[in-house]
Each structure stands twice: as C-alpha cells, then as structure tokens.
C-alpha cells in the first residue's frame, strides 16, 4: 500500500490552547484508519485539519504528495460525513446526493442521474431519490450523507463520529455495512470515534489520542494486546493493574507480582527499555480465569475471595480479592453449560498466565 496522507509535525493552537501537539501520521491508500480518543483529545480537530476546515499553526499536511497548505476544502480530494450529517433539508434526497456534481466539470451532466442512482443503490437507498430530505430517519440520513460524499469518488472519506447518533442495534448494523462499503469502493476511510469497540471492530489501524497527542498507533490486535502505555491500556478495554518488581532482565525477564508470585516474560512481550525495579503489571479480565471443580491451571494459580458479581447473560464479571493485591481483580468468565455462578463471599482459585502480562 502506498502512503496517501502524511502529517509531519502538525501543531494547532486556539489562542493559548494547544489542541494538536507534534502530530506525525502516515495513512496508506485503501486503509480504514481510526482516530480514537476521549472527547476533547483533538481527534475531530485533526480530521478537520485534513479536510481543510482548520489551518495548522505549524507542520505540513500532504495528500498524494501534494502540500495542502492554502488548499481550501473545496479543492481537496477529501469528502466528509459530518456528525450531524448536514443533509440539506430544503433539497430532495437525489438533489442532496447530486449536490457535489455541480462543480465537477469533468463529469458529463448526462450521467448525473445514473450516478445518483448508483450511489443511492450502494448505500441501500435505491428508490429514495424523490423523498424530501427532512423526512428521513437518522439511519437514512447517514446513508444519504455517505452517498453524497462517495459519489464524488474522493481519495479519502472522512467520517466524524458517524454512528454516535444511532441506537445500539442500528450502530452495530452500520459498523458492518461501513466495513463492507469501504472494501467495495476501496477508498481510504478515516473515522473519528470515542467508542473503542467501534474502532476495534472497523479499523485496519487505530491512532489513540490523548490531549492533542497520539498515544499509540497500531492495528487493533496489537493495540489491545500490547498497549504501550497505561492510559492506552485503560482507554481500550478493561485491564487490571498489579504492582510488581523486576528482578532480572536478560534473555527473559523475571519478576514477582504482588499476590501472584514469580513470573517470567519472554523477549517478544518485553517493553522497550525494560529494566529492573518497580513496574505496573497489566492483565486483561478475560486472560484470568476462575477454576471450578476438577479444573487445573495451565501455568499458575492463586486463591481469592469473590467481592462482586455482575451477570451479563453470556458473561459474568467477578471482582475477586487476592491477598496482597491492593484492588480487587476483575475476571471475565463465559457462562458455559454446567458452570455455576459464584456468590459474593465464596472463595475460589484463580488461574493466570505469564504470557498475558503487559508491563508498564
């Protein structure tokens, strides 16, 4: 894949407020890329910088090796799906979708009708062209916004929290449809979202942003399994943190974890610049397990007491107290056939595995 968008040292100030700090970012052609972060982290600002709605205070934005300095939004090879969808309420669905064709002298006017029909068909709205735009539902508005942008065949489609206004069922449905659509058209999608699950489900790569900086940029699996910092780990999924102490760093890394005891970490799990001393040990709830009658741990086990039980139907989340661990550990268990749900106060055995540990 070739590099399509390159941001080098991008900074953005609003008065004294430093909204974007030294952003370096490369997005490849055909990629589904997500900007993920809590509200106010600068992800929408970054998207608007790429679209051209915001200038930069420093650094360069390149799209297809062209410097975008002084290039207004209407001259950029990008199109945007706005958070509010910004469907023009005084126009029909077809007029909305055809809106961008007006200024495209390279597209023959005779083809407009067919292109609109094709675009509507692509988003599953064929036959809706004659409807008034203000009479559409939320999901339909979003499809119109997609069709209106994609009909222009941009190099990049920018999506600003496109699913946040939809209800849960609709959102999950549109996630799958957006992935399918992106594969079908082959256009680079850049998605802004605060929903970590959405980002994990949809993206080829994710940049996690905090306070105007990119905390980590990786594919979803690496991001989830090997978060580089504690705040990335805390933002994406749930994670337990235990105090630990590293004894030796060599071919392997030996450490002791409060309440768990000795553990050993292989080179591929070692964080950069690992050294002896105090560390924070992260472990995901689903990599821990409660052992029921007759089950034995593959690696290690330790005793605990159930502190809290949250039943989700398919899963049960336990908070379990372990001696010498300051906070109860969250453990996610699948509710398999014949497996009981424990009560608060019951003692149990916990299985853990050093392959699942992440050091910070």
């Amino acid at each position: 894949m070739t590099d399509l968008i390159q941001l080098r040292g991008v900074n953005k100030y609003y008065g004294d407020y430093h909204a974007l700090r030294d952003i370096d970012l490369t997005i490849r052609a055909g990629e589904f890329f997500s900007l993920l972060g809590p509200s106010g982290c600068g992800k929408t600002t970054l998207l608007r910088v790429i679209a051209g709605f915001e200038g930069v205070s420093g650094g360069t934005v390149m799209i297809s090796d062209k410097n975008m300095k002084d290039v207004p939004p209407n001259k950029r090879p990008t199109n945007m799906v706005f958070q509010s969808y910004a469907i023009f309420p005084h126009l029909s669905v077809a007029q909305n979708v055809a809106f961008g064709l007006r200024t495209r002298k390279d597209i023959d006017k005779a083809n407009h009708k067919a292109l609109v029909e094709e675009a509507l068909n692509m988003v599953g709205l064929s036959g809706f062209g004659g409807r008034a735009a203000h009479a559409l539902s939320g999901g339909q508005r979003q499809r119109v916004a997609l069709a209106r942008a994609l009909i222009l065949k941009p190099k990049v489609l920018l999506l600003d929290e496109p699913l946040s206004a939809l209800d849960k069922k609709m959102r999950e449905h549109m996630q799958v449809e957006l992935i399918r659509l992106q594969r079908h058209v082959g256009i680079t999608f850049i998605l802004v979202t605060h929903d970590q699950e959405e980002a994990l489900v949809m993206s080829d790569r994710i940049a996690v942003m905090f306070a105007g900086e990119i905390g980590q940029m990786d594919d979803p699996e690496t991001l989830y399994r090997r978060p580089k910092s504690r705040r990335v780990a805390e933002f994406i999924g749930k994670m337990n943190f235990l105090p630990g102490q590293v004894q030796t760093v060599g071919d392997t890394l030996d450490l002791t974890i409060a309440g768990f005891g000795a553990a050993q970490i292989t080179p591929d799990q070692m964080p950069e610049g690992a050294r002896t001393g105090d560390v924070s040990v992260g472990i995901r709830p689903e990599t821990l397990a409660i052992l029921f009658d007759g089950e034995t741990a593959r690696r290690h086990e330790c005793p605990g007491t159930v502190d809290e039980v949250v039943y989700y139907g398919d899963m049960t989340y336990y908070d379990v107290r372990v001696k010498d661990v300051p906070q109860p550990l969250t453990i996610a268990m699948k509710n398999l056939i014949g497996r009981p749900v424990l009560d608060v106060g019951e003692t149990c055995r916990i299985a853990w595995d050093d392959r699942a540990l992440v050091l910070f």
Binding site: F53, N74, N79, F82, H90, F99, G100
Partner: protein, 266 residues
Amino acid sequence: MSLRIYAIAYLIFLYAPILLLPVFAFNDATIIAFPLSGMTTEWFAALQTNKSLHAALGNSLIIAGCTAVFSTLLGMCAARAAAMSHFPGKGGITGFVMLPLVLPEIIVAVSLLVILRQVLGLDLGNWTIIMAHVLICTPFSIAILNGAFGNLDPAMEEAALDLGETRWSAFRLVTLPLVMPGIISSMLIAFTISLDEFIIAFFLTGSNPTLPVYIWGLLRFPAQLPVVMALGTILVGLSIILLTIAEVFRRRGLARSGGKDTGGFL
C-alpha cells in the same frame, strides 16, 4: 378565574380604541361621537381623490421599502457573524448593536436632526428618514435573523464547501434558502415599523411628509377626521396582514431548520 378576567380587561384596554377606528370610518357624520348616524363609504371615496395623501403614501412606501432592504441586509451581516464566528468582545458588540431597541425615539430623532443639519449640513428628505429608520429597525432585523442563523447547523455550509462549492456559492445555495423565511420575516417587520413611525419622520421630514406626518397634519382640520379614521382602518388592516405573514414565515423557517421556537414578536 381572576387571571381570566384580568386578561380580558387587558385585551379590551389594548384593542378597544383600535376597534373604534372602523366604526367611525363607516359612520355617516363628520363629528366623532355616539350615537352613530348611519353607514357610508364616503370617507373611503374621499381618500381616493386626495393628491397630497397619495404623495405622502408614496413617500412612506419608498421609505419603508428601502428601510426593509437595508436593515435586513445589515441584520444578516450581524446575525451571521454572531452565529458562525468567534471574535473577541462578541457579546458586548451584539449587545451594543441591539441598543437602539431601547433608546427613546425622541432622543434618536433630536440627535439625528442635530447631526444631519448642524454638523453635516445635509438637506432633509426621504434619504435622511431612511437612514434613521434603518437605525431603529436594524435591531429588530437582527433579533429575527439571529433566530434564523442561530438555528442553522454550521456544518451545513461546511458540507457545501466540502462538496466543492466556494464560500459564496455555499452561502447562496445552502445558507440563503434556509434563512430565507427569516429574511422575509425581517423585511416585513422593518417595513411595518417604518411605515407607521411618526416621531423620527416628523423631525427629519423635508418638504414631503410621510403618511403618519400627513395624518397628524390632517388632525388640525376636524372636518377631515372621518377621512383619517378611514385611512387608519386601512393601515391597521395592512399591519395585521403583514405581521401575520411575517410570523408565518418565521415559524416556517424554524420548522425547516428544525430549531426550537424561542418566541418571536407575535
């Protein structure tokens, strides 16, 4: 119950004098007093042949039309700036722009007369009244257009920009149609205010009076009173129609942009 009585009394207090206008406009007597002495359309007929009345009406229509256009244009600039951009001192400036709304008209009239005649040495005429009326109508225009522009999603214009339009064509193709009901509403209100404004017009009028100033002049001749009543009846009718149309457009605009109704002038 007492609230209902109060409301009815209040409405009578407000509108009874106006209701007397058509009553005496159709009354067949030159003296304005009860009992009524029969039905006539004589006074309306007298309106049709009065040359100086027609001249005054023509003046007023020109002044009201120009005032409506200019105050709405100024109001659009102010409302758009207030709704779509951020600049230092925005709150203070918008407050200051609205100030003529609460200034006593007599003060505005006297100070304008002093400035125009003594300081600038200009001749009085329709243009001086238009300028003064724009001054007092612009706050009303801003108040109406603030609603229209404030309810507009800023992403609308950005979306048009994103789809290849320039700043101007985005404004023309998207913003303008969406705020058009507000623009029409603002023009109608400004037109109505200017049409029946008296104090400023009285001070600043040159040799050609506006309609209200002309009517005031008529009052010195008791025989002309029923004619004034007839004219007043027509003006009240016109004002009600114009204000109703303005309100209809304001509500339609709100419905179109999906905003909440925060109250208009009606």
